[in-house]
Symmetry: C2
Subunit: 119 residues, 2 copies
DNA sequence: TTACTATGCTACACTTAGTGTAGGTCAACC
DNA sequence: GGTTGACCTACACTAAGTGTAGCATAGTAA
């Protein structure tokens, strides 16, 4: 069993983030020690790692909650889950394009500065 | 003179966004009509266009405020302004790299699904 | 004249994904 | 006995607006 601090360090979340995920229903309310401190099993740590994996893809917390429910519902939801990941991927591609376009704006601005524009 | 709705449409901001910028001090409080409606001159529209240009580069509103102050302070602040734009550009490049890495995560996840993993 | 619609106003709540802070508890160490 | 460290809860705050409620006003249609 791990304390929240140990869990946070092992998984790479902040303590606050873990409590936040519990509050949001992404995690079952953790077991407590006699001192009312949260205690995590290895299995719960794996669940946190899973959440971290999804978060790193840029998925929103609410969507991860849905996704987690689907995972627990079994393989019947697999096609749906694949679609979600594909949509997420598209969103990421769109984001990248947008940022690239902003980059072009910035470079134009810099060029204008180099050419003597002064506002 | 333009109403806030006309200004919003001309510049491409929402009405709410313009009021928000005023509240944040990015804009001087607009002149008012007899009916207490905001009125904008062409010069203020140009200022809004300028703000839009900076926002599109991904610059934060608070930073735009600083930047606007520098512009008004004259050419002495030019090197500082160039540095800000360059930093902004670097931040954008970092963002893009991060998103690309998230993309790799997603693609790995999809591959695992295609290979029969089911969680 | 009355009713409706459009546009504007203010002030407030809400969003995301957490972070930061205040105030309190508890055990361990010196 | 005092201090440190880790934990607890609850609340406020962040960015950049958006959405809503409740109001005023002007122009138009019946």
């Amino acid at each position: 069993m791990y304390t929240i601090g140990q869990a946070a360090q092992k998984v790479g979340f902040s303590i606050g983030a873990i409590r936040f995920y519990e509050r949001k229903g992404l995690l079952e309310p953790a077991a407590r020690s006699e001192q009312n401190n949260r205690l995590y099993t290895d299995s719960e740590l794996n669940w946190l790692v899973f959440i971290k994996c999804l978060r790193e893809t840029g998925m929103r917390v609410e969507d991860i909650k849905q996704f987690a429910n689907m995972v627990m519902a079994g393989t019947a939801t697999l096609p749906e889950r694949i679609k979600i990941i594909q949509d997420q991927k598209q969103k990421l591609l769109d984001d990248i394009e947008e940022k690239k376009s902003q980059l072009v704006h910035l470079e134009r601005k810099l060029q204008r500065y180099y050419n003597g524009e002064n506002y």
